[in-house]
Structures are given as C-alpha cells and as structure tokens.
Amino acid sequence: MSLKNILENYSYYRRDAEMGGHHEYEHRFGMAIDLDICTGCNACSTACYAENNLAVVGKERFEAGQAMHWMRIERYWDEIEGDYPEQGAKLIPMLCQQCGAATCEPVCPVAATYHTPDGLNAQVYNRCIGSRYCSNNCPFRVRYFNFWSYYEDSWPEPLHMQLNPDLSVRDKGVMEKCTFCVQRIRNAKDDAAREERPLKDGDFTTACAQACPTDAIVFGDTMDPDSKVSKLWAKHQIHRGPVTAKKDKNDEEIRGYRVFDELNVDPSIMYLERVRDTEV
C-alpha cells in the first residue's frame, strides 16, 4: 500500500474490515471440514509438513510451545460425570481460517500480512520484522513464529533435499502460517494461463485436502458457484460476510458453522457439526 494510495482511497481502507477485506475479489478460496468423518489421523498435518517445509522442532522446543504445525488436530474431551467418554473424543483440525475480516492484518506495522485478491491472508515472510502483533491478535492462535533458526538443525543432510523449492524456508524472527498452499494455487493458475482458460474447481487442492483419507476436507473457490465447496456452503447456509445470517431451524440437516463467528472475523473455513448417535 503506497502512501498516495492510502490518501486517495482512505474511505476505502476505513471501510475495509466491515466490508470484509477486499472489494474486488478474483477468487475467495475457502474450505469445508466435516467433523463427522474427520478421524483425527494426522494425515493432513503430516502432508502439510511435507508440502510447506515446516520445521521439526524436537522435544524440548515442542515442550516450550514453539512447535510449527500449521495444521494441528485439537482433541477435546467432554466434561462428563460418567466414568467413561462414551461419545468418544472430539477432534477438530485447526488451521489458519483465512478470515475475510482478519484481525491480524490491520495490526502489522509493515503490512507483511495483508489480504490478497484471492481472499487469502498473505504472509510475506521477507517483509516480516517479527513484531508478533498479528499472532497476539489472532483468536485462533494459528500463527507460528520462528523463535529459533529452525532451518539450521531441522533438515540434516540429506533430509534438506526434500525441501519444496516453491516456497522459501523461513528463518528466525519471521511469522508464518497456513497459506492454503498458495504455491499449489500459483502453479494451477500458471497452468490455466498456459492453456488460456479460467481456473476451475479441481485444478488444485491443498496438501491437507489431498491427503485426507476420508475426504473430510473440501477446498475450493467459494466465489465459483459450481465448486464443491461453495455448494456445501450453500447447502449448510453459511454465507460470506461479517456474521452468518440466522439459519432456518426447521431443517436440522444443516450442520455448518464457523468457529468464533461471533467475533465477526468472517472465517473462510466452514466446519460441519460432528454427528453422534445418541440412541445407542
């Protein structure tokens, strides 16, 4: 954002958040995660490590709370009186929600995190100065900071040959987070451009969605009405924008919800309620 730009479009920027970030989107990538068939098997998380050059931090640093898993499977137990958790555990994959009205964006002093025309929360590593304000302001706590020079000991020879050249390895003092596998999107766009056609659903997907053995994760462009994900969003009556409109309660089949929707951050990930058979 150049100074001139700001001065000219001041009102535009002022209205930014409440209008949900950008005004002219080319795409708005989004996700739908069905918690009913998410088994918590960690395939997505490991795929993310493989795709995005995530550092393995080791036991001590993991203990210190400095792990770098962009995608983590959170496990919660019910607060129950009984002796046993008869309903099983509650598992949820938590990753950057790529909020439309992201709280991390306005606070970054150097605009290293900003909203792209694709509806993504970009994190420009080489612009980041590591003030860590963005992470403090993230209700989901899904931003990870390079507290150490992880790259020095995370990939001993020849492990480093696995590193993905399509995105950089982050050094100490840089904030990083899930990018919805932007490098895959970028490649898909290049291919589409090469073939002189618009980007279409199924051209690309994130590493986690690709790996998920139960297809619990569906990724796509929510602006493309024919994409799988936007169909799901429509089916479960989740709409873009600050706060989701009230669902009509008659139809219980509607299981869609967005975490922390009440905070008005317009997340790009819709979760589907976990179904449990209470008759048994």
Binding site: T116, A122, V124, Y125, N126, R127, Q183, R186, D190
Partner: protein, 196 residues
C-alpha cells in the same frame, strides 16, 4: 617561421578524427527497445565471473545470429530459462570449431559424461517467485512480437548479452527494478504474486 598546415593534411586529419569519433558509435549501437514495453530503469555494474569455459555469447548471438531461446530453451515453458544441456552444445560442436581449446574442453566434459558447473550470474533471492514463462508470454507471444528479435526483450533484464563473452549482470534485478517495470507495464501489484 610558422609551419603551415596544408589543406590536404587538414582534411585527412579531420577525416581521421571523424572516423575515430564515429567508430565507437557504430560498434556500440544500442539494442532497440521493443515499442510495446516501457523499459525498467536501473543499472548495475556487475563483476566478471570466472566460468569453467568462457562461453562467448557475442559469437553466438551477434555473429551467428542464434536466438536466445534456442539454447535457453526452457524460458518459454518454465520458471527458469535453463542452461542448455551439454548434448545441445555438442549437437553443433561435434563438427564446428573442434580445434578451438574451449570446444576441446567442452568435449572433455562430454566424454567424461558430466556437465560443466557454471556459476550463476543472474539470480533473485529464494523468497522471490519469478517465472520466465509468464514474461515471455506477455511480452513476446501475446504481444505478437517477432520471436527472432526476442533478445531485445531479454536484454531488458539481462543487458546487452550479445556484447559479452560470459554473461555479466548489467541490471540490478532488485525489487525496485521489478516494481517499476510492473507499474509501467501493468504487471501484478500483489505481494504474493512474486513473493513466496
């Protein structure tokens, strides 16, 4: 007594001077800038990089009139322009100029079955996502720019390679350089278009 310069001497001398003045002008004529591109501003004084073989670009480009993309063949297909595979060099130099020491050196490599380890001259940081393909497509193919003159486009970022033996970095290739060109020629302004 005063020595008088004859008209003949005068004329010949001035002609000589004129020739001396014009000589560089003729030999160092700038490459024409393609009309559809606003060239990015910026200069860089590159140092000479010792290469395993001092490959004479000028011979190939200027004298032999070989198209850049004949050797750097990946430029139109990929992120990287690519160093020509040794097999490509040998394609010609099995026959041509086999007596030259440089070619003999190349042939040694070929017979050993390895490629020369060239030193990188033009480079961008690892956090930059630059693809030759898109630039070639925009400035050459989509603009119906004659492919035989492609070196005019290449020169915008790689400088007058046709005047060099081994490549030298003539343009800064820093963010400002890219930025200016993107603004002038309507390239993307989105950070994530180029940063990864």
């Amino acid at each position: 007594m005063i020595k008088i310069v004859t008209l003949k001497q005068l004329v010949s001398m001035s002609l000589l001077a004129l020739a001396v003045l014009l000589l560089p002008a003729t030999s160092f004529a700038e490459l024409p800038v393609p009309s559809h591109i606003t060239p990015p501003v910026g200069e860089h004084d590159g140092e000479d990089v010792p290469q395993p073989i001092d490959f004479p670009h000028n011979r190939h480009v200027k004298d032999m009139k070989i198209n850049c993309m004949y050797c750097h063949t990946y430029a139109r297909r990929s992120k990287v322009a690519g160093i020509p595979p040794t097999s490509k060099c040998m394609g010609c130099h099995k026959m041509i100029a086999t007596d030259k020491p440089r070619i003999q050196k190349l042939t040694e490599y070929w017979e050993k079955g390895e490629s020369p380890r060239w030193k990188k001259v033009h480079d961008v940081p690892d956090y930059v996502h630059f693809t030759h393909e898109k630039h070639i497509r925009k400035f050459v193919f989509d603009a119906d720019f004659p492919v035989e003159d492609v070196q005019q486009v290449c020169a915008l970022c790689h400088g007058e390679v046709r005047e060099m033996t081994v490549a030298e970095k003539e343009k800064p290739l820093n963010m400002g350089f890219c930025q200016r060109c993107h603004q002038a020629n309507g390239g993307p302004g989105d950070c994530w278009a180029c940063h990864k």
